[in-house]
């Protein structure tokens, strides 16, 4: 039984924590929060590229470190702790994973080294409006290799160089790799987490290369989303842990009625509840990491469970962290709301938890029939 980070992985994780504590304090995050014109922290992005993190799971042959996905999970957890304001998920969890999973040799050679070097920023453009995108309501269209249509919201759409776009081709949903250097107009969107910007992208004849087979765009998107979901679950777990730490630290230093508030059962049990949810999320995330790293057939189920547990845990931790802080907790000056916002951003960016619950149960139904 070996169901934890190895010593090497723990070392890497620890180094990542130290690096981010030095390079991504919340004062840096607030620069992106407070400045509408600033979509991400460019300096941090460069530094992270220099650390090699963008290519952690990219093979050495393509300019990456070739470490594997457990190491990437460890990094994701640390990025989540510090609510890093960079397009890491869009670029690494989605674009790089998509290219590694379904890209041609040419595409891999062209994109992966640039991703590892921080020269390419990715984004995922699937949503076109309120609610769930389906094969039936999908509007964007690719014809003759040219994409037209409107996508919103697209996280990191305002700064991305490349997009994964869900669109119809010959009436069937496909997933396309789109170079954003032309044929697209971008409009910044106002979102609930200004530390992670999003845009509306309007395509008018942008060049689009299909990934995977014709008509299998939704299936491929699910496979990519499974991979991203595991990595996002680590970011969420990291965020949830940090929220718990903040709540605990405050509860231990704040006095009410002559006692630290951490001595009241209402607070003790609240923090215990957060702890329990966080540990369940961590355990589910570990199993997702194992499935991702070994490309196990359990990945879709494991990824769904990891995403559901992590989304729930981060939301609970983020909102009860504010509650534990009392009045000061809902002020702009205190960092608690950064985690509240990020918990919502991460829960929605790859599809809402309820969508994942449905995915999970349909798979359990099939598995139970098969068993």
């Amino acid at each position: 039984m070996n169901f934890d980070y190895s010593d090497d992985q723990k070392f890497l994780k620890n180094e990542a924590r130290k690096f981010l504590e030095a390079n991504c304090p919340t004062s840096r995050v607030r620069k992106v929060l407070d400045d509408d014109a600033k979509a991400y922290d460019e300096a941090l992005w460069k530094a992270v590229a220099e650390q090699g993190w963008l290519g952690a799971a990219i093979p050495e042959a393509h300019g990456g470190l070739g470490l594997g996905h457990i190491e990437l999970c460890a990094i994701a957890e640390e990025l989540g702790r510090v609510v890093a304001p960079i397009p890491f998920a869009s670029t690494v969890y989605f674009l790089a994973e998509a290219v590694m999973l379904a890209g041609s040799d040419v595409q891999k050679a062209a994109l992966l080294p640039k991703i590892a070097a921080g020269e390419v920023i990715g984004c995922v453009a699937t949503s076109e409006g309120p609610g769930v995108v389906t094969a039936a309501n999908l509007q964007a269209t690719v014809s003759g290799g040219k994409l037209s249509g409107t996508k919103l919201p697209v996280t990191d759409g305002d700064i991305a160089t490349h997009a994964l776009v869900l669109a119809k081709e010959n009436g069937q949903a496909g997933l396309f790799l789109v170079d954003l250097s032309s044929g697209v107009t971008r409009e910044a969107l106002q979102t609930l987490d200004p530390t992670r910007d999003a845009a509306k992208l309007t395509f008018s004849g942008a060049s689009a290369e299909r990934l995977g087979a014709a008509g299998e765009g939704l299936a491929l998107l699910e496979r990519i989303s499974d991979r991203a979901a595991v990595l996002l679950a680590f970011e969420q777990t990291g965020g949830a842990d940090r929220a718990l730490e903040m709540a605990k630290a405050y509860a231990l230093e704040r006095y009410a009625f002559g006692r630290v508030i951490a001595s009241y059962q209402a607070i003790k049990h609240k923090l215990a509840d957060i702890y329990v949810k966080n540990e369940l999320a961590r355990s589910n995330a570990y199993y997702g990491a194992w499935a991702l790293n070994t490309d196990a057939p359990e990945l879709p189920v494991a990824a769904s469970a990891a995403r559901i547990a992590a989304s729930e845990a981060f939301w609970f931790a983020a909102k009860e962290n504010i509650q534990t802080h009392g009045g000061i907790g809902f002020t702009w000056e205190v960092d608690a709301h950064l985690y509240y916002r990020r918990s919502r951003q991460l829960a929605l960016v790859a599809g809402a938890p309820r969508v994942w619950k449905e995915r999970l149960v349909s798979q359990l139904e099939r598995r139970n029939i098969a068993a």
Binding site: G131, L152, Q190, V260, G326, Q345, A352
Partner: protein
Amino acid sequence: MDFNDSPEEAAYRAQVREWLEANAPKTPLTFEDMEGGGSMAASKAWQAKKAAAGYAQITWPKEWGGPGGTPIQQVIFNTEEAKYPIPPNPFQIGLGMCVPTVMTFADEDTKKRFVGPALRGEEIWCQLFSEPAGGSDVAAARTRAVRAPDGSGDWIIDGQKVWTTGAQFSSFGIVVTRTDPDAPKHKGMTMFWVDMSDPGIEVRPIHQMSGGSGFNEVFFTGVRVKDSQRLGAINDGWRVSLVTLMNERLAVGGATGAQWNQFLEAARQITGLDGAPVIKDQAIREKLADWYVQAEGLKHTRNRTMTALSRGQTPGPESSIGKVVSALQMQDLANTAVEMLDQYGIINDPDLAPLGGAFHASLMMAPGLRIAGGTDEILKNIIAERVLGLPGDIRVDKDVAFKDLPTGR
């Protein structure tokens, strides 16, 4: 069991309706109206009109300038008034809590000086109790008041208050201070009224995560007040503050933010898991049922409270459950609505988000609503202790000199 007025109530309601129809504004303020203090001017004008007609503080006795009416008359007036597009009411904390405290403890001249202008909306009052070191714990006040060294009998106040609603437009305030740090915490406080325009008082708005700034910090730096501004005896401020807090108006107000019916409307229009509208989703339907039942429960709990008032009784403890239920519902409903939008849920631009971003606004307001005016935890303590009669939490700070109490930030 019915919803009918008694004959006396019906007569009062008819009189109120007639007066409102003749006097209440018929159109909401426009954005232009509200600019440059226009909103406050409208509020003050409406308050003056109500005061002149005996509708400002209906339950106030004649000696305080009120008509000496009943609580149910106040409720009837509020209900009828709410049907008109009246301007905001920034007077409630002053009239409901501060001025009654002044009335109870001040001398005749002071009463004469303050009651009329407050009632007519000419002067607004704020309540300066909470401090950074003690939110729910009013007796943790550290703001010092010491006798001026010049022998004048004046007091010098230094310290900081926080969560002060309306401080930026208040003329006066009542402030709890620490006058004997060697006494146990409840026995060394003194209350004063202060002129908010006095030198040394600085008001700074608190920037909330929702973007709003409804609260303020108030800094006292060497603020000099006369001993005649003292309310109650020296070191008896805790008892005085209890009078203020007992005057807190009945919590008959409803929840704010987006409600179940707005959620239902939105759910009809959003694509769900299988491409059908999300309102067809049974998980969503069960949540809707739960919210509806809670909201109806609160509404009819308020009806029970009003029934008690109508019968001349003191409302039962059921009136205390409102906020603890509605604040949590607000957070859950808003979050479910945002998640129902799937990826699109991150967009909070009022031009793009459903209902002009009302769900998103609720999501950002809810954490504050769960805290302001008593946290969920404090409210449950109150229900447990005052309603159910369970013992208070064990107090370790009762018999210790204030200065020796452990403190954090």
